[in-house]
């Protein structure tokens, strides 16, 4: 157990280092930060001085180490726009993104579990076909389109929901729904296929052979086994929702990290971009790590030595 933990931890740290490397490389390759901060007419000495101040005249190796050591302390520099520390900007927006991701996940789970279970337990029936059709459509609808459609329907035509804003439940419903559709469809299929695969296993047949009531068989023999692997997927999907809410946040003017990142990219505000991308990626790594550990606790087949 300890060995396993240590190894996973080491892998996670290696990935974090890799993330910082990739971000560093991309930002260095994509242009000279100093050139952004000074007007083009500035003299060469001004450039040289700014570069020196920013540490850009040192070797790449040193630059990276400085960058990385600062990053570990959460220092990504200041936004070029308003000189607020980049980290602070990102952290300020984090709750909004978390809220959106949670909302989307809740909606997704509320749809996916019943739909997937019912479809899986009635394989080949009309209801199964209906659920599958919804899944296929749900996985085909792009988020930016469903967002627009929702706005068109609920805001423009029915006037029951606001098109943007933040703070009340009405503001959350549409973005969370748009974001959650894809996840709902995907999870439904996973639940369904999990149920189908388990339903034909030998131990389910043995459960029937004992004369157990159908409800007991479904609950304790089918579902317990089918839903266990889904737990890891849910964890990872949540992590993916955090970073993937970019479009939704933009359309609904949701004050989250994704929208901040896109705006910063267009404004070439590198410190903020670096901060948010690295923090999002790091969050993913952490969640991944936790999910792995949790799964080992809940699956009795995995021995904890």
């Amino acid at each position: 157990m300890i060995l396993f933990l240590a190894r996973r931890l080491f892998e996670a740290i290696a990935v974090l280092i890799g993330i910082s490397l990739v971000v560093f490389v991309i930002s260095r390759l994509s242009g000279d930060p100093a050139a952004l901060m000074l007007p083009p007419e500035a003299s060469d000495e001004d450039f040289a001085q700014l570069r020196h101040e920013m540490g850009l005249d040192q070797s790449l190796y040193v630059q990276y180490l400085t960058f990385a050591s600062k990053a570990i302390h959460g220092d990504f520099g200041e936004s070029i726009r308003n000189f607020v520390p980049a980290t602070q900007l990102v952290v300020e927006r984090l709750p909004a993104t978390l809220l959106l991701a949670c909302g989307a996940l809740c909606i997704a789970l509320t749809i996916a579990f019943p739909a997937g279970i019912v479809a899986g337990l009635n394989r080949g029936s009309i209801i199964d076909r209906t659920v599958m059709t919804f899944c296929v459509i749900g996985q085909g609808v792009p988020v930016f389109w469903s967002s627009l459609l929702l706005i068109l329907f609920f805001s423009v035509h029915l006037h029951v929901l606001p098109t943007s804003g933040y703070g009340r439940l009405e503001n959350l419903i549409m973005p969370a729904s748009a974001l959650g559709i894809y996840t709902a469809a995907r999870l439904s299929r996973l639940v369904r296929s999990g149920v189908i695969e388990v339903a034909s296993q030998d131990y389910v047949r043995a459960a029937h052979a004992k004369g157990l009531a159908v409800r007991d068989v479904v609950q304790n023999y089918v579902l317990r086994n089918a839903l266990l692997p889904i737990v890891t997927v849910i964890g990872l999907d949540f992590a993916a929702l955090l970073g993937g809410a970019v479009i939704t946040e933009t359309i609904f003017a949701w004050p989250g990290v994704g929208r901040l990142t896109v705006e910063s990219i267009t404004r070439r505000d590198f410190p903020v971009v670096q901060a948010s991308v690295i923090m999002l990626a790091a969050t993913y790594v952490v969640i991944n790590f936790l999910v792995d550990i949790i799964y080992r606790f809940i699956d009795p087949r995995i021995k904890l030595r």
Binding site: Q201, D202, A206, K210, L212, Y221
Partner: protein, 348 residues
């Protein structure tokens, strides 16, 4: 409870626990329906153990699953009756409703499956699974449940049950898992136990223990047993009667002693000859039956064993022989019969 008055065997003092009449099972394949089991009939009395022997694909497992009405999704019973007694009346399992089957499974009939690893729920503790067997047929017991489970575990010789009751299936050895399955099977004292190759997945040393356990449990409770196996040695040990199946048909049936001493069907004879014996001479080759059984999908006239049979005659290809009585309780499905072929015929 449905019965067909014309066919019902009246319960007699030494009565039949199970009567299978002309059971036929078909499977739906790519090219239409395939007969997997064709007109199998046999009956079983309380306390009797009957062996069902055959190669893979002979239909023996399908017959067992049919009795439990647990056939795979694309396989179904096409004809026949399976009669058992439940709650004082005779029930035909072929036409019984799902609700009736739930009452019968585990209580009147119970089944032990071949692979105990895959037949036990991996995420439930063992005690809980045994308890499920008990609770399926008894009102929810608040007290006495734990003792009942521990008693069952002791009865199947699981050491230190109190400690092991909270363990998971993967924490047991193969032999222990099979004991757990047996415990679940006999939990409600069924009148009929179906054991589908209960020892095939186990080590040889453990096999003997499990077989001994089965013998002891079924004899003390007078439980009738259907023992499915491909191993004639096991049949010799455990069974009083045996049915030999080939490509879905019964080719020979009768008392074990009869069959072993005077097998009539060439297939049975060759099976017996193929058994490794301790007293065989050194350097003697193991006999085997050349060829493989035909797929059930191939349409053949005549005897199914024709192309592998060393004793065949021309008639065997034209007409399929009927099950013919050759002795007391002993029948075989053959035109030639080993007695007639004698020792003069050399295998081709």
């Amino acid at each position: 409870m449905s019965t067909n008055p014309a066919d019902v065997e009246k319960p007699s003092p030494d009565r039949n626990v199970l009567v299978v009449k002309n059971l036929s099972i078909v499977g739906r394949g790519k090219n239409g329906q395939v007969a997997l089991v064709d007109q199998v009939s046999f009956s079983l009395r309380a306390g009797e153990t009957i062996g069902v022997v055959g190669e893979s694909g002979s239909g023996k497992t399908m017959t067992a699953l049919a009795m439990m009405r647990l056939l795979p999704p694309n396989v179904s019973i096409s004809a026949g009756q399976i009669l058992v007694e439940s709650e004082g009346a005779v029930v035909d399992l072929v036409s019984a409703s799902t609700r009736t089957m739930r009452k019968i499974r585990g209580k009147v009939l119970a089944m032990i499956f071949q692979d105990p690893m895959t037949s036990l729920n991996p995420v439930l503790r063992v005690g809980r699974q045994i308890l499920d067997s008990l609770r399926a047929h008894q009102p929810k017991r608040m007290s006495g449940a734990r003792e009942a489970v521990l008693n069952l575990m002791s009865r199947v010789n699981i050491p230190v049950p109190a400690e092991r009751v909270r363990s998971f299936p993967h924490q047991f050895s193969g032999g222990m898992r099979q004991r757990i399955m047996i415990a679940m099977g006999v939990a409600n004292s069924p009148s009929l136990l179906i054991a589908d190759e209960p020892t095939t997945a186990l080590d040889v040393t453990v096999q003997a223990q499990i077989l001994a356990l089965l013998r002891e449990i079924t004899s003390s409770s007078r439980t009738a047993t259907v023992l499915i196996t491909h191993n004639l040695g096991i049949v010799a040990q455990q069974c009083s009667r045996v049915i030999v199946m080939y490509v879905g048909r019964i080719v020979e049936e009768g008392p074990v002693s009869e069959i072993f001493q005077r097998p009539q069907h060439p297939y049975t004879y060759l099976l017996l000859r193929a058994m490794p014996r301790l007293d065989s001479r050194r350097g003697e080759y193991l006999a085997n039956i050349p060829g493989t059984p035909p797929s059930p999908a191939t349409r053949l006239t005549g005897c199914r064993f024709f192309d592998r049979c060393p004793y065949r005659i021309e008639r065997c290809q034209r007409e399929e022989p009927p099950l013919t009585q050759v002795g007391a309780g002993h029948s075989a499905r053959c035109w030639v019969m080993m007695e007639n072929s004698g020792s003069m015929t050399q295998p081709r």
